[in-house]
Symmetry: C2
Subunit: 345 residues, 2 copies
C-alpha cells in the first residue's frame, strides 16, 4: 500500500518542483521569492486539487498563527467600522485574518485585560489597539510578552511605542479659529475621558488655542465626560447648562457622539443650535453631514489611519527589532450647519 | 534533573486533584461538571500561575478551534455593529472567539467564496452568516463540509436551513397600513436586491399589502436597487422621479440607507420630505431618529437577533444532528417625521 501524498507533496509532484518551492508559493509572505511563471503554475495546480493551507498546523510549526487581533473601544461608533475595514483589507492581502474585539464603550476596566488574555491565548502574531489608555496595562503586557503591536487613534505617554494618531491639538485649534472668526468670544468645552490621549490632547489644544487669542478658558466652562458617548455628552452638558446658563455662545466638543449629546441637552433646555449656541464635533464620522443640524467637525481620514497602522504592524511582525517611527495624521476642518456667526444670535 | 511539570499537572498537584479535573474546570463547556468550590480553587491557582490555555493545541487535540466565523454584508451599515456585538458577547460567555469578516456591501460575488475558504482554513467550529443570497453557494459549501451554520437576518429558499430572520412581509404591511391611514393612495416602492430574502420578501409584502387595500401596485412605481446602500437608493430614486414625476405621494423603501438615498434624490429634485413626499425605511438602525427628517421605519431587535442566532449555533455545534427550528422575529412600526398626512401635501 502506498502512503498517500500530503497536499504539498502532491502539488510538487504535479508541478515538477521541490516541495519547499510549493510552500514558498502558498505563503503570501514568501511568494515573491519564486518566479511569477512558476508561482502561477503551482497556484493553478493547488486550486485544481482544492488545496487549502491549514493555518493551525502551519502556525504550530512556524509559531505563526497568521492572525492579528484588533481591539476597538466601541464598534457602534460609526467612526470605527471604516477603521476596521481598512485594517482588515490591508492585512488580508498579506495572508492575515483579523480577530476583532469590541471593548464595548470602554465600559469595563476588566474588559481590556480579558480581551488581551483571550487574544494571547489564541496566539495572535500581533495586535492593533485602538483602546489604549494613557497609562495602559496592555502596553506593558505586550512588551513583556514580546508581542508586536501598534496603537491606532489613541497613544500612550511612552514615546517609544509605535502609533498612528491624529494631530488632536491642531484639530481643536482649527475649530477655535473658525469660531473666533465667526465672532464667538465665550466658548465652552465638553471633552472626553482624560485617561485617553485623545481626551487629554483635545482639551490641551482647546486651552492653548484660547490663550493664542488672549481669551480666557473659564474653569467652569471646561468640562470632561467619562466616555465618548451620546449619553455622556448629554449628561455633562445638562450640568454645564444648569451651572453656567447663557454665559457662552459656542461649545467645542471632543467627538461627534458627544456633539449629538450636546444637541439633545440644548433641545431639552429650549435652546437652538446654531441660532442660540454653535456646536462643533470631532471625527467627521459617517452620517455627521446628515444630522439636524449637520455637524461642523474635524475630519480624520480613518481609511488612511487603518492602512498605516496595518503597514507598521506588518513591518514590526517581520522585524521585531526594527525602529519604527510613529505617524501623525493632520485633521481637516469641515464646516457645516452647527456653527453660525455670533451676530446671528 | 526533574522534568518540569506541565501547566495542568502543576495546577493539579497544588490543588490536590487529578489533572482531568483541572482540564474540565479550565474548559468553560465542562466546568459545570465540577463542584463550584473545587472549580473556584482551581481557577485561583491557575491564575496565580498565570496559566493560559492554548486553544491552538487544544484545537488540534479535540478538533475544535473554539472559533466561530461571523460574515456580515456591510460593517458600515449602523444596523450591523449591534448585531455583531450581541453575537460576540453571547459566544464569548461560552468560551468562543468570533472572527468577523466584512463582505463590503456585497460588492463582489467572489468575496463571499474567498471569505468562506479563509474561515474554513482557520478551522472555525461554526459560522453565522448574515450575507446569504437566496441561491447561496455558501450554504451548499457548508453542508458539504459538515460545518454547523446559522443564517442571520437573511435566509435561503431551502426551509431545512436554520435561520433567525425578521418577518419582512409583515413589516412592509405595517408601513403600508400607516401610509393608507394617512390618506396616501399612490405609493411607490424602492426595494433591495432581489437575490436576497429581505429584498424579495419586502417587495412581496408591499405588493400584497396594496392588494389588500385594493390599490394597484403600478409596475413603473416598483423599482429595485442593486445593493442596500445610500448610493443605490439615490441612483434608483433619481431614475424613478425622472420617469414618474408627481405620480405618487409616498415611497416605501426596503431599508434605512435606501431611505437616506431617497432623501438625497428628493432634495436634488427640489421636493421636500414629508411635505411633498412621505418616505419610510426599514431596520430602525442607530441614528435613524436623528436624520433630517427622522425616519419612519420598522424596528428589528438586532440585539435579540444576534443572541438567538448564537444560541442556535451553540446547539448545532454541540449536536450537529439535532433538528433545530428557525426563528422569526416580529418588526415594530416606529412613526417619525418622514411621513405626514396626505391632506398636508
Amino acid at each position: 500500500m502506498t502512503k498517500p501524498l500530503s497536499g504539498i507533496k502532491q502539488i510538487a509532484q504535479r508541478a515538477g518542483v521541490h516541495a519547499s518551492t510549493v510552500s514558498r508559493v502558498l505563503n503570501p509572505r514568501t511568494r515573491a521569492l519564486v518566479s511569477d511563471e512558476v508561482a502561477a503554475r503551482i497556484l493553478k495546480i493547488a486550486e485544481s486539487l482544492r488545496y487549502t493551507r491549514n493555518p493551525l498546523a502551519v502556525g504550530l510549526k512556524t509559531r505563526r498563527s497568521f492572525t492579528v487581533g484588533v481591539v476597538v473601544p466601541d464598534l457602534t461608533n460609526p467612526a470605527v467600522p471604516p477603521l476596521v475595514r481598512a485594517v482588515q483589507h490591508t492585512l488580508e492581502k498579506e495572508g492575515y485574518v483579523t480577530v476583532l474585539a469590541d471593548a464595548d464603550s470602554d465600559s469595563n476596566p476588566e474588559t481590556e485585560r480579558a480581551i488581551l488574555e483571550r487574544l494571547r491565548a489564541r496566539q495572535v502574531d500581533g495586535l492593533i489597539l485602538a483602546t489604549a489608555l494613557l497609562k495602559s496595562e496592555i502596553v506593558t503586557a505586550c512588551q513583556e510578552w514580546n508581542l508586536p503591536f501598534v496603537l491606532m487613534n489613541r497613544t500612550v505617554s511612552d514615546p517609544s511605542v509605535t502609533s498612528v494618531v491624529n494631530n488632536d491639538v491642531q484639530g481643536v485649534h482649527l475649530v477655535v479659529d473658525h469660531l473666533v472668526q465667526l465672532g464667538h468670544r465665550k466658548v465652552a468645552y465638553v471633552g472626553g475621558p482624560l485617561n485617553t490621549s485623545t481626551g487629554r490632547a483635545r482639551r490641551q489644544g482647546f486651552i492653548a488655542a484660547l490663550k493664542a487669542y488672549r481669551l480666557k478658558a473659564r474653569e467652569e466652562l471646561v468640562v470632561d465626560c467619562s466616555s465618548f458617548t451620546v449619553q455622556a455628552g448629554l449628561a455633562t452638558t445638562r450640568e454645564l447648562l444648569r451651572t453656567s446658563k447663557h454665559s457662552f455662545t459656542a461649545i467645542v466638543s471632543a467627538n461627534d457622539l458627544l456633539a449629538l449629546g450636546i444637541y439633545d441637552a440644548l433641545a431639552e433646555a429650549g435652546l437652538a443650535c446654531p441660532d442660540d449656541i454653535s456646536v462643533t464635533g470631532y471625527n467627521d464620522m459617517p452620517f455627521a453631514d446628515r444630522f439636524n443640524p449637520p455637524v461642523t467637525t474635524l475630519r480624520i481620514d480613518y481609511g488612511q489611519m487603518g492602512v498605516q497602522a496595518s503597514q507598521l504592524l506588518l513591518r514590526k511582525m517581520r522585524d521585531p527589532d526594527a525602529q519604527i517611527s510613529s505617524v501623525r495624521l493632520e485633521p481637516l476642518l469641515v464646516v457645516r450647519g452647527s456653527t453660525a456667526h455670533y451676530g446671528k444670535q
